[in-house]
């Protein structure tokens, strides 16, 4: 990273925790985060040019291992964050429920998975990042030029493909995006530039096994970061990419729905999640979760009708 020696950064991250310094070929400062249930993108440009003084580190691994709840400590750190500063949180699992909480407070995130029980999440306010090389916030922060509408940009060495669908009439934006995704190389990110959130595309992406992150840069300028997720072997989670777990209860007999949902929830490890698909708002289910698993779950609507409801239900550690 500019101005910061990579080995020094790694040593600072490991400071006081007696973590083994990774081998040079696994230098995490240059690695893309491995996806779990949360979508991710290449490191935003604004996070690669930070002055060390702009980074507020908060390591809650000890509290979590001790069974304590660090939420108030995290919120306090967020409150005290100076303008332009970044909160860098380290935890023993991916703090999925925090994403929605902090998003509501205006924070985006970028996640790094160092190991199964070692995660770093960068929380930052979008729009305060330094601009890219061309003077405008880059789609992947790489300063690449915006291609002609409907044309995918040539694949640069850093694994980002840009597809500008502004100016295309429906359903061309979705068709073009799905077409590019068919041949998207492994470990590459497709960035769709759109005028609005592609509401019909997003559920299709989840079903096709893609993760996504929608960033509204400004009214009329939306970027959707799309990346393929790996498949998971039957019988348990992998140590690498984990596919989205989708529980579609529309086909389950009524009296078996809630048992199936709770069976799936109880099989999750802390930090894991699944997407519930239903044909109506599962609000009664939410009440049951509140009653039986208060403080143990996260609940985020991904789609709210009118035909299909999707809720990401996560298990909080």
């Amino acid at each position: 990273m500019a101005g910061i020696d990579a080995d020094e950064l790694v040593a600072r991250l490991d400071q006081g925790h007696r973590m083994p310094t990774p081998e040079p070929e696994t230098d995490m400062t240059d690695s893309l985060p491995i996806l779990s249930e949360q979508p991710t993108v290449a490191r935003p440009a604004g996070l690669t040019d930070l002055d060390p003084g702009q980074i507020v580190d908060l390591d809650v691994r000890a509290e979590l291992r001790a069974g304590e709840e660090p939420f108030s400590k995290i919120m306090a750190a967020r409150r005290d964050l100076a303008e332009g500063a970044v909160l860098r949180l380290r935890a023993i699992f991916e703090p999925v429920p925090l994403y929605a909480v902090l998003r509501k407070q205006g924070f985006e995130h970028w996640t790094e998975r160092l190991s199964d029980d070692d995660w770093i999440v960068w929380f930052y306010r979008p729009g305060t990042e330094p601009t890219g090389g061309n003077g405008a916030p880059g789609a992947g922060g790489h300063g690449e030029s915006v291609p002609e509408p409907g044309a995918a940009a040539p694949d640069p060495a850093d694994g980002v493909v840009v597809l500008d669908v502004r100016g295309l009439d429906p359903p061309e934006p979705m068709l073009q995006t799905l077409k590019v995704l068919e041949t998207l190389p492994p470990d590459h990110t497709l960035v769709q530039i759109n005028v609005k959130e592609p509401r019909f595309l997003l559920p299709r992406l989840a079903e096709l096994g893609f993760a996504y992150d929608v960033r509204e840069q400004e009214p009329g300028l939306v970027r959707v970061f799309i990346r393929r997720k790996g498949e998971v072997a039957v019988g348990g989670p992998t140590t690498g990419n984990r596919a989205v777990r989708v529980l579609d209860v529309r086909v389950i007999p009524p009296r078996e729905k809630h048992p199936a949902i709770f069976e799936t929830f109880k099989a999750l490890e802390p930090g894991e999640s699944f997407v519930l698909v239903n044909d109506h708002d599962p609000r009664p289910l939410r009440y049951q979760f509140d009653y039986e698993h208060a403080g143990e779950f996260g609940w985020e609507y991904l789609e709210q009708g009118p035909v299909v409801w999707r809720v990401q239900i996560s298990r909080v550690g």
């Binding site: 359903p171 979705m174 068709l175 799905l178 019909f200 559920p203 299709r204 079903e207 096709l208 096994g209 498949e231 998971v232 072997a233 039957v234 019988g235 984990r242 596919a243 989205v244 777990r245 989708v246 529980l247 579609d248 209860v249 529309r250 086909v251 389950i252 007999p253 009524p254 009296r255 078996e256 729905k257 048992p259 199936a260 069976e263 799936t264 099989a267 699944f274 698909v277 044909d279 035909v307 299909v308």
Partner: protein
């Protein structure tokens, strides 16, 4: 996982009527069976155009999940353009961009299909599924890599005894499940293991297709009403000009 409607739920419906039914009921995918009213596999279909059908499906946001051989149509895989009433199915699935779903029992009669990379082997319902998988895997390395589909019929027997073993054995090769029931039959299938099936598929990270089809032909009237079609499916399927058939979500 994506939820698909099988054309078996409306065998007389045209392709566009099937798309409309998918939209009406929130299905994100469509499973096609040979010999049904969509006519994509019939050379006599007026204006039949696989590429155009594929584009219409994509435009509606509906994924085409596969083309399934009818139960007595295994020989069609070996037929070529010289079969008068049947298009070359392998060419058709290439145009549609879908796999051809072939029952495991018929694979021996379709050696040509094995090398195309377009075939998905359908394991039968019930206790015959695991022995069928053994037989497929004994067919050599190319057969052992074939993607798998699985028919699940909870109306015939409790599926709980087979579900766990089959999902574990098939692993990521399992790409398509046809569930007989669901939809309007759902409330009558309690205690048959469907909830457990769905939970196990979710936990295994299954990202394939779950297609719903009627468990009995006698249920088709109920399916037709559930899909929003009063009376029979329209005559648009025989219209020469497919532009006259429009998607309707009403």
């Amino acid at each position: 996982m994506r939820l698909a409607l099988s054309s078996a739920a409306a065998p007389d419906a045209s392709f566009d009527e099937l798309l409309a039914a998918c939209l009406r009921r929130g299905f994100s995918a469509l499973e096609l069976e040979c010999g049904h009213g969509h006519l994509l596999d019939s050379v006599r279909a007026a204006g039949g155009d696989a590429a155009a059908a594929r584009a219409r499906a994509a435009g509606a946001g509906i994924h085409l999940a596969g083309l399934r051989l009818a139960p007595d149509n295994g020989e069609a895989v070996q037929s070529g353009p010289d079969q008068r009433d049947q298009v070359d199915l392998l060419a058709l699935v290439r145009s549609l961009g879908v796999p051809l779903l072939v029952p495991a029992a018929r694979m021996a009669r379709a050696p040509r299909a094995l090398d195309t990379g377009r075939v998905m082997v359908v394991l039968p319902a019930g206790g015959a599924a695991l022995p069928a998988l053994d037989e497929v895997d004994s067919g050599g390395r190319s057969a052992a890599r074939l993607p798998l589909a699985w028919d699940v019929d909870p109306t015939a027997a409790d599926i709980s005894t087979v579900t766990g073993d089959l999902i574990a054995r098939a692993g990521s090769r399992l790409r398509h499940v046809r569930l007989y029931g669901g939809g309007p039959e759902s409330s009558g299938q309690e205690g048959r293991g469907i909830g457990s099936l769905m939970a196990r598929l979710a936990l295994s990270g299954f990202t394939g297709t779950l297609a719903l089809a009627p468990s009995r032909a006698s249920h088709r009237v109920a399916w037709s009403a559930w899909l929003g079609q009063r009376g029979g499916w329209g005559c648009g399927s025989t219209a020469k000009d497919r532009q006259l058939v429009t998607l309707s979500t009403s």
